[in-house]
Every structure is written in structure tokens, then in C-alpha cells.
Symmetry: C2
């Protein structure tokens, strides 16, 4: 900043100031800013330690920040479901404080790439570029190194960044996934200015005694300068490393050390330290607050109790947030801030920086700008256009082995239906793809809910996709489409979260699909008849016979028998009672059965948000595309009672809401006629006959 504007007037003064800053900097001796070892020769002078024990890094005026719109480069290695969640929290903290455009270089495995690509695509944060690099291709370069660290092979990949990243990339900040920013990353970037001509690696000293080798008997750490350096936060001059022959350098050192040491204990960090011990001119020590290390026996308190400011926190204990430390509560609060922070709020522009908008953002802005706030259905229009941030496979997930007749249960839910999950898991032993509509904070509650549930944590075939909340109407069909798109089996059972399927349904569906020879030969939607109980304690029928007994006794009803019989009437429950084989039924107005269809079936129409007509429209789409509707004689699913949702309450009490649903319906029919021409006439005709409430 100091150097911007009016250079002629202030040029001389700025030069003088810089000279002074140089004096402060290079005359200083930050406690953690440099190793204690005599081997380091990065500074000329070494003034005696301050007797009052103050951290002199406080006295160094920070170097000038990079220009307002300078693009800052960040690299992160990330693999798997859990690390992907960590990276997102890190990136949230980064974005919260940043004032500069960023380019994130993500070295990922296939799982993390899939998650993060979807996430960033839907996040649409202005002034953030993302590049992905295939970690699996880099593996051979480090897989020969025996390593005992919990980060596995991926930890070691930081070593190969100079060759993996684009050759014209000269500087990059490398971050571990377990760091949290508490400040503007431009301040860290500015520290590149401290590098002398040859220095290529900026690091903070280790805040533990690990590399001193005196932690326990026979503890033989890798060689390091004094306490060594921590590699959770690295400033890399890639250009200089390439020039200095980095690849050759670290491989040589590692090979030599591995002659006497069995393996790396701390992954890349051991090798970085060994190389630095050999070539101390490479390293520029950074002030301690840029990597406050919260390991179990950390000495970090000396850093943070004297600094007026924390910049980056590093959860470098394998225990992460459960680490024992007398101040951990305060650090945890900072971490939780970003864990629970509404990521949508980070879609903030950088004023005055000309950056290309994220893909799709411009069209979206235009569409939103065309909406009229006076329109009674404005809320609906806005909700339809909303691009929700999507985090697919939020929790570890193992795709089911490919089987030709396998079926995934597809559904969506919000926080208030979480209790359904355990029962659903008991009723459906097969794969599931569930979209959850949550805030960032709720996503964490959900995570804890799954972790503390024995039933849920035992299941790896349930994929949970978090769609982040935005807007006041439940985007039901967008949620269904997310869950549907992520189903990996050839068939899907399109269900709702307040239904429990018959215990046998999963097996029965697969058998039916096989018997009916649906694979490619027949375009069919298998109807699963729906029932409901109005009692909130009820014993689930174990067979069709038992279900019929309950039905006759008035303990069960056909679904929405009282309020909306036309929704399921075409299923023909009377025929179903007696049926021994699948039977075909005809579409009729307002029909909305629960069906099993091939995964590539039509998507739900995202214009239907909130309550009303969302499933009806999908069944019309299936019928228009000539899916046969086949009712399965032994299949059933039962709706459990619950308090009415806020959306249905609004639908019932608010005439405008109903008018808007009607308007959506009309527009849907217009589109239908446009697509299917005369064939769509029957839907319009059916619509003209006055019927139920929707």
C-alpha cells in the first residue's frame, strides 16, 4: 500500500521508510522466527535475547501488503471425504479475511476432486480461480518413501509441487488442510518480500521439541536445524527451487537419510528439515504467529501470549480439536466460527478488482435482475433461480459394487426429519442417496448425529449430499435432483423421507427388476403402493397380509385417503389387494405414486419449490416419455405422521402461496405443450376439470 499513488511526491520518503523497515527486520530476532541452532546463517547479526522475554516479532513492522488486486496463489493437497470437509473450512477462513483475488491449486484424489469441483462450481465465489491436479499421477514420485505419518502418501506430495504446478507459477503459499486463518492471507504473501536473493522456502519454526530428539529415550528424529521447521504453512519460491534443482536435492537427502532411518515420521516435514539442515540458505524463517501449532505438548503459548495477534492456527495434533491445551477452547471457537459459517455469505465481490465472474454468475445475475420485486410470486421466482452450494458425499461413502438390478433409495430431508434416518436404515438395507437441506451449522450437527448413531455409522452405502440452505422456500425438486444425480446403481426408488418401505422391499425390487427384464428392454416405472398411519406409535406390518389386516382394522389408510385421494387413486388399491402379478395402470390427473425407475429417468422440474405439485409434474413427465406404470403386487411403503411442515402450513393459510403454485403449474403445462405437442393435450384437458386443492 505504501508504494501506491503519487509516486513522484512520495517516492523518496517511501524509499527511506523501506530502508528503515529493513533495519527493523534484519536487526530483529523473532523467538520462533528462526532456529536456535548455530548452523543457521540467515541473519548477519544475532542480538542478545530480550531479558523480559518479549516476542520481538511484534516489533517488526509488517511489510507492505501486496497491491489491492494482485492475484495470490495457494496450493493444498487433499484426499478423501474427511479431508475435503477440512479444506472447505480452511478455505472459508481464508475467504473471510482475504481482500485479494485467489488462485487455489488443489492436488486431489478422485474423491476429493469430485466433491470440491461440485462445491466450488456451485459456490460461485467471485475472484477465486480453482485448478485441480491429479494426486494419483504424482504418487509414484513419493511412494518409494517409507512413511509413518497419519497423512500417508498425500503428506509427502508437498515435495513435488515445484514440478507438479505450472512451470510459470513462481510463488505459492502451501497450506495443510488442518490450518485455520485468523487474518488476511495477503499479510502472509507480503512476507515473500523478506526473502533474500537465494531463499526459496519460508517456514515457521517448530513449536515442539520433537526435532531436538530428547522427547524420550531412543527417540531418533530426522536431522533438523535446532527445533526444525513446521511445514503446515509454507511460502515457496517455486522458480528458485526449480532453478536450484530441488527435485534432485530432496531425493538425494531423503535417500541418504533413509539408509540409517527406517521411515519418515512426519512425512514431508522430515525431508524438508533434512534438506534445510544441509542447505540452510534455502530457508526464510517466518514469524511464529503464522503457524501457531496446537499439538499436545506445544510451546506455542510463548508465541500467542506475547503476540497481539494470531494469524494462522494449526491443528497439528492427530487428536485435532480434542487436543489437550489450556487455551484450546478459545482456539476451538475460532475454528468453529468457520466450520459453522454460512459459506453463501462469502460470495462477496472484491470492490474495484476487475475479475472474471465465476462461470454462470453473469447469466444468474441477469436473470435475477429481471425479476420484479412487486411480483406476488417474487419469492418463488427467486428461489427457483437460486444456485445452492452443494457438498456431495459429505461423509465417507463406499459406492456399492456394480450389480445389474441394484436399486438406490433416493430422498431428501431437512434437519427436522433427521430422526427418520435410523428407522430408514433398518427398513432399507440397500444403497441410498439422500440430499440434506442444511445450514453450515446444521451440517455439523448432522455429522455429530451420524457419529453418535451406531446404526448410521455402520452404513457406508448411504451417501449424504448437503445442499446449503438459501431462501425461504424449500427447493424440493432441486434437492431430489441432487440425490438422483448421485445415485450410482442402474435403478432408483424415488421415495420421500417420511416413508418407511416394507422390510422386504429392497430384495423384492431387485428380484422384480430382474423378472420383468427391465434392463433396457422395457421402459417402465414400478409403482410402490403407499399407505399411511395416523398414529405416531405403530407396529410396522411384516407382510402384505398383515398390512391388509391393519387396513381393514382402520389402523392404516391408503396414503392421503382423507385429503388428496386422487394422488394415489390410479394405483387401484382394490386391485392391488388381490393382485398376484404386476399390473399396468394408466396415468390420471394429479397422480403421484412412489416409483422405481432407471437412473437416467427425467429429472424433477426445479421450478416447483415449497409445497405443491412437485411430484405430480414428474409423473406427468414420465408418462409423456411413455414410461409404463406397473404396480408391484407385494411392494408397499408407509407414511409416518409428523407435524405439518412450515411450507404446507403456508400453503394452507396463504392464498398468494396457492396462487403462485397455480401459476407454476400453468407454466409447466405451457412448457409441456411446447415439448410434446399434441401428446401433451391430455394433461391440459385433465387440468381443466376442477379437482382437489393443488
Amino acid at each position: 500500500m505504501l508504494l501506491r499513488g503519487r509516486p513522484r511526491t512520495l517516492g523518496a520518503a517511501a524509499l527511506l521508510l523501506l530502508l528503515l523497515i529493513g533495519f527493523f527486520l534484519f536487526g530483529g530476532d523473532p523467538d520462533y522466527g528462526r532456529p536456535r541452532s548455530q548452523g543457521a546463517a540467515t541473519f548477519d547479526g544475532d542480538p542478545p535475547a530480550d531479558p523480559r522475554g518479549h516476542n520481538r516479532s511484534d516489533c517488526i513492522p509488517p511489510p507492505p501488503l501486496p497491491p489491492k488486486c494482485e492475484l495470490l496463489q495457494v496450493a493444498i493437497v487433499c484426499a478423501g471425504h474427511n479431508s475435503s470437509r477440512d479444506v472447505i473450512t480452511l478455505v472459508k477462513s481464508l475467504l473471510f479475511y482475504r481482500k485479494n483475488p485467489l488462485h487455489l491449486h488443489l492436488v486431489t484424489d478422485a474423491v476429493a476432486r469430485n466433491i470440491l469441483e461440485t462445491l466450488f462450481h456451485t459456490w460461485m465465489v467471485p475472484a477465486v480461480q480453482i485448478s485441480f491436479y491429479n494426486a494419483d499421477e504424482l504418487k509414484p514420485q513419493v511412494s518409494w518413501i517409507p512413511n509413518k505419518h497419519y497423512s500417508g502418501l498425500y503428506g509427502l506430495m508437498k515435495l513435488v509441487l515445484p514440478s507438479a504446478l505450472p512451470p510459470d507459477l513462481a510463488r505459492v503459499i502451501v497450506l495443510d488442510t488442518d490450518v485455520t486463518f485468523a487474518s488476511n492471507i495477503a499479510e502472509l504473501w507480503a512476507l515473500f518480500a523478506h526473502f533474500s536473493d537465494k531463499q526459496a522456502i519460508g517456514l515457521v519454526e517448530n513449536q515442539s521439541d520433537w526435532y531436538l530428539g530428547n522427547l524420550w529415550r531412543n527417540h531418533r528424529p530426522w536431522p533438523a536445524l535446532g527445533r526444525g521447521f513446521n511445514t503446515g504453512v509454507i511460502l515457496l519460491r517455486l522458480d528458485r527451487l526449480r532453478q536450484a534443482g530441488w527435485e534432485h536435492m530432496w531425493k538425494l537427502t531423503a535417500t541418504r537419510e533413509l539408509l540409517t532411518l527406517p521411515a519418515t515420521s512426519l512425512a514431508d516435514q522430515d525431508i524438508f528439515n533434512a534438506v534445510i539442515k544441509e542447505h540452510p540458505w534455502l530457508v526464510q524463517p517466518l514469524p511464529c504467529m503464522w503457524n501457531v501449532q496446537l499439538s499436545d505438548h506445544t510451546l506455542a503459548e510463548r508465541c500467542y501470549s506475547e503476540a497481539s495477534d494470531l494469524k494462522v492456527i494449526h491443528w497439528n495434533s492427530p487428536k485435532k480439536l480434542r487436543v489437550k491445551n489450556k487455551h484450546v477452547e478459545s482456539f476451538r471457537n475460532l475454528y468453529l466460527t468457520f466450520l459453522e459459517y454460512d459459506g453463501n455469505l462469502l460470495r462477496r465481490e472484491l470492490f474495484g478488482c476487475p475479475c472474471p465472474p465465476p462461470p454462470g454468475a453473469e447469466q444468474l445475475q441477469q436473470a435475477l435482475a429481471q425479476l420484479e420485486e412487486q411480483d406476488a410470486c417474487f419469492e418463488f421466482r427467486q428461489q427457483q433461480l437460486t444456485v445452492h452450494r452443494v457438498h456431495i458425499t459429505f461423509l465417507p461413502h463406499k459406492p456399492p459394487p456394480p450389480q445389474p438390478h441394484d436399486v438406490t433409495l433416493v430422498a431428501q430431508l431437512s434437519m427436522e426429519r433427521l430422526q427418520m434416518l435410523e428407522a430408514l436404515c433398518r427398513h432399507w438395507p440397500g444403497p441410498m442417496s439422500l440430499a440434506l437441506y442444511l445450514t453450515d451449522a446444521e451440517a455439523q450437527q448432522f455429522l455429530r448425529f451420524v457419529e453418535t448413531s451406531a446404526v448410521l455409522s455402520a452404513r457406508q452405502d448411504v451417501a449424504y449430499h448437503v445442499v446449503y440452505r438459501e431462501g425461504s422456500l424449500y427447493p424440493i425438486n432441486q434437492l431430489r435432483n441432487v440425490a438422483l444425480a448421485q445415485a450410482l446403481t442402474p435403478y432408483v426408488f424415488l421415495s420421500d423421507i417420511d416413508f418407511l418401505p416394507a422390510y422386504s422391499l429392497y430384495d423384492y425390487l431387485r428380484a422384480s427388476i430382474e423378472q420383468l427384464e427391465l434392463d433396457g428392454r422395457r421402459k417402465a416405472a414400478l409403482v410402490v403402493p403407499a399407505f399411511e398411519t395416523l398414529h405416531y406409535r405403530f407396529s410396522f406390518p411384516s407382510s402384505k397380509a398383515e398390512l391388509l389386516t391393519l387396513l381393514d382394522a382402520g389402523s392404516l389408510y391408503t396414503f392421503r385417503y382423507h385429503e388428496w385421494p386422487q394422488g394415489h387413486a390410479p394405483t387401484d388399491y382394490a386391485r392391488w389387494r388381490e393382485a398376484q402379478a404386476p399390473y399396468r395402470v394408466q396415468w390420471a390427473a394429479d397422480y403421484e405414486p412412489y416409483v422405481v425407475v432407471p437412473r437416467d429417468c427425467p429429472r424433477y422440474d426445479p421450478r416447483f419449490v415449497g409445497f405443491g405439485w412437485n411430484k405430480v409434474a414428474h409423473i406427468i413427465e414420465l408418462d409423456a416419455q411413455e414410461y409404463e406404470l406397473l404396480v408391484l403386487p407385494e411392494a408397499f411403503t408407509i407414511h409416518l405422521p409428523h407435524a405439518p411442515s412450515l411450507d404446507i402450513t403456508r400453503f394452507r393459510s396463504n392464498p398468494t402461496y396457492r396462487d403462485c403454485v397455480r401459476a407454476l403449474k400453468d407454466e409447466f403445462h405451457q412448457d409441456l405443450s411446447r415439448h410434446y405437442g399434441a401428446a401433451a393435450l391430455k394433461y391440459l384437458t385433465a387440468l381443466q376439470q376442477p379437482r382437489g386443492p393443488a
Copy 2:
């Protein structure tokens, strides 16, 4: 920071640096940092404007921050329910970025004081002192000034701060309730260092043309230097103002201007500007980003698109967040960040600053430290000790006029029962005191819910008290106690949120209280018999006769008839059918009726968290204190069905949870024996007879 540590070595250099900073600063000309008018004489030089239009405030290196632990003083004027909510959002933004201890001086009316005192007491933020000043006492000093601004009299009170605040307070930052911090307030405090010897008021220039007087024909604003200054953010040297005879000064100016002007349009701001116009030496202009004004026709873009950083945002349009501005979305995101931010996370220590802990914090820390994480009931113990942040009367509330037999309905709820509120309002036309267990983000959803509900927004006699979520168990009895403590009528009806009372109940209870001559003469708890429906669509009986018909038809049951009959059996439903007059019943084990009692009844035992035994213990307490239990013959309340809560699900599925509830129960009985001696024996004996699940 520059001046701390190793002064001898660096003293000379620091001095040089300061000189240089002085050169930068006083040679600069921040665009918005000073009025354009020729009248201003705050700077010596006035270099030509930068032709590229860059904002030179960027070029001024910030003055050194105040020392790490220096106490910063902040004053805010606040009145009423809505302003109190605003202040809390402002304080959250302030606390988020602050690194220094703070002393908040709050000038409040009785409503705001009541709210904010409870809030800060329960918030327990380290290193924050709070002082209250009675706004009503200050009113006479400004009430003579005619004023058209929406802030009313309270806006004007900023004028009297030099005399209202403690005489030894020399400097203070004064903030409007509608500002949001985006930076560390210490940076703002540091600008006091820019004041020349006489300057006493630091202000940012107005970012609108209001005071230029050319906005419309016959627009006659108060006198000001050029664009004038905005008083949303003020740095006040109180000591200098007192010395300069401030009180006399502004009163003189105001009186004189009011001879020709009918009233102030912008409250205190008009008077501040008129005084400054007369005494320009008083003012130190501040850089524009310390008060980015988002009024309708703001010129603020010139400030924020050139500055690399926003420091304080000021929502100074009467439209607040709905103001029209092409960048408003980004500003709103920053505001929403703090609106929805979990305030509990701000209970962060300031490392290395010796500050007295907030009242009660030490005992709490000790009690928490004594818990054993290995204890199977650790979660329960921790939850019992948790001090929840409490925001009483979150929404505008008008206390009911005092009436000797009036009854307040008391209940608690969380987000998932919000739908009950409208129905409850229809069934209970009297006052209510409701505790809501919410996150900060949910509290905003709740606010919108009430605003969009015609039924709810029509009611001013419903007091909503937000208890902020913390921990995994629902603190049911703490919530009940908050709602109970805030009930303002002589009697309370202790209900639960999933019950709807008979339409006539409110009138009937008041009549019964009068007839039974309860006021002081008789210590009684009036039992309201409880029923339940298992159907989620059901037509509410309009009389006891109708209720009995539904009961006989099996559409209604007595409450928990199937699962927990002993909870209500002592009410003696058979007798109730025939009863024409109130009748007395005896306590029996596990009895938990819904009762009407005097407001000063025993509190609920806060040790019961989550599901189980929380009401039972309260009824025991009533019985132990010899309350007569009188069943009312015409009273009834009906439970509506809902999906089981997470807590009841855990209770049912988790044996440890049940064991912990049992342990709490045992401890409760031990305390009971200690308090009531032999009289408590009957409860213990009853306990020994094996009964239901709890």
C-alpha cells in the same frame, strides 16, 4: 506496536519512522477525509488532487496500534427492543475483530437496559466491562430541541455524552446502533493519535450531498462545512470538550440556528455540524472507510472501490438493509455474518492480557474443571452447568396492564415447534411468556416467521425470550425458568408447546382464580386436565361436552394413556367427567399435571436436561411446599401429535441416557430429603416401588 520492546536499540529508528509517518499523513488529502469547503483549516498544505483519482487515504500508513492490553472505551445510545437487537449485532462485529479489552458505556432506556443487562450477564465475554447510564434522566437536556429524525430524542443524546460519562473518562468512540465493524476497533482508536492539540472530535465526511443543500428545491439543511460530517462513528476527546465548554457551545449554536430553522432533520448530526462550522478547529477528519455510509444516494462507492479495505459499514438509510445500492448484497453479507454469528464463540480469552474474569466465570470454570470426561453422564453434567446466553423480550412486547387474577401461559420451544405458535395464539388470547431455544441464525428465522405471520405480529402481549443453544441436551427446565421469571402477571399457566388449551381456558382460569380466592389466601395449584389426539388432523372440541364425546368415540385419549398412565392418573379423569366444582387430589409418584400457580412458585430443577422427569420433579417440589392440587372441572388442554423429539429418541434407544436420568433422579431425592427432612420420605418410598420407564 512499533514502540514496544527493546526501546533502546530501536528508539532512534522508531522516532525517524514516526517522523516519516507524519510526513505521509499530514501531506495527504484523503478524498473523504475532510470537507471540501474552504472554511476548513485542519491541514496546512493542500497538494493538488491526484489526476488518476486514487484515494490517497490508502497511502497513509496506519498509526501504530494501541498497546496490546490497552482498554478501549466505546459509548452507544440504545432504546427499545429493536435497537437492542441492533446493538447486539454491532457488538458481535466489534468483539469478533477486537484484540483489546473493551469498556462499553451504554446509554439506555429501561427496556434496553433490562435486555442488555441480562444478555451481557449471561454472555460472559472475557475482557469486556459494561456500564449503564439512564437515558431517561438525560432526556430533559435535549428534549427542548425539535427533531424530525427517526432516531427521535435518543439520537440527540450523543450531544450530552461529555457530561453524562464519568468525568475521568478522557476518550471514547461513539457508535450508532446501525454500524457494523469489518476490522479491529483498535485501528480506529489509534486515530486519536492524529488529533492536533486542540482537536476534540474525529468524524468521517458525509457521503451524500445532503448538507450541500442542492438535493431538492427549498431544501434548507443545517449549516455545515461542505458536505458536512456523519456522526455514526465519532472519536471524542471528552476531556477537551469539557475544557472547551462543549455544553455551552452546542446549546448556543442550536438555540441560534433554531431561530431560523424549524427543527433538526438529522438529530445530533445537524448540531454537531453547525458547531463545527463555527469552530472548525474542533474536528479531525477521519478516513472514509471508517464510516462507509449506505444511504439511498450514497457516494460511498468512491470510498470503498478504491480503498483496499472496509473498516466500518453504516446502514444510515431509514430503509436499513433494504436500501437500494448496486453493491448492497455484499455489504448485507457482512452484516448477516454477525447477525447470524454464534455469539457463544466470542467468549474467547485475550491471551496475555490480565483482565478480571466476568462475574461468575471463575466459579463456572472451576465447576467445569471438576467434571470427569470419563463419567458416562459427563454430557449431562456439562449441560447442567452451561450458562446460556439469554436475550429476553427479543421482539417488541407490551406488558399486560396489571390485573389481580391475570394468568400468563408459560412454555418453551425450539425451531421445530414454531408452527405451533399461530394455533396457540388463537387458543390463548391472554399474555404468554415463551422461551425459545435457538441458534443466533435461527433467531433471525424466527424473527422473519413472526413478521410474516399476521396472527403473530398482531400480538404484543406475547413475550419471546431467546435462550441461545449450547450443548447437545435440551435444557428444558432452564428454559422453563427463563420463561417463568419473565411472566409479569400474578399467575402462570405452566404448559408445554405441543398442547392447545380449550378456547375458553384463559377466561375460565381468571374466573376460577377469583372464585377460589387464591390471591394470597390459599396456596394452590390448579390442575388443567390433559388429553391427546393421535390424529394430526383433528377438529378441536369447543366444550367439555364435545371433548367427552370425542373421548368416548376413541378420537381423543387422556394424555399418555398408552405409554405413561401414571403421569396423569391422579387427576382422576372419571371424577372429572362428572365434576361440577373444583376437587382436590393427592400427589402420587410420577404425577406431572399441567398447573396454574402463582408467579412466585418454586422454580424447575435445572439439573433435568434432555428428556425425562423434568416436570415430575417440579410437581414434587409443589407438593413438598404444600400446594393443594385442585382439578378444575371445565378446564382442559389437548396434546397434538408430532414426530418424536431427538431427545426422546435417544432416551428410548440409549441405556446410558436412561441411567443418567435415573442418577439425576436419585440426586434430586437426596436434595429433597436434605431440604424437607422426614416430609420428603413419602417421595422416596414412592420411588422404591418399581413403575414406568423413567
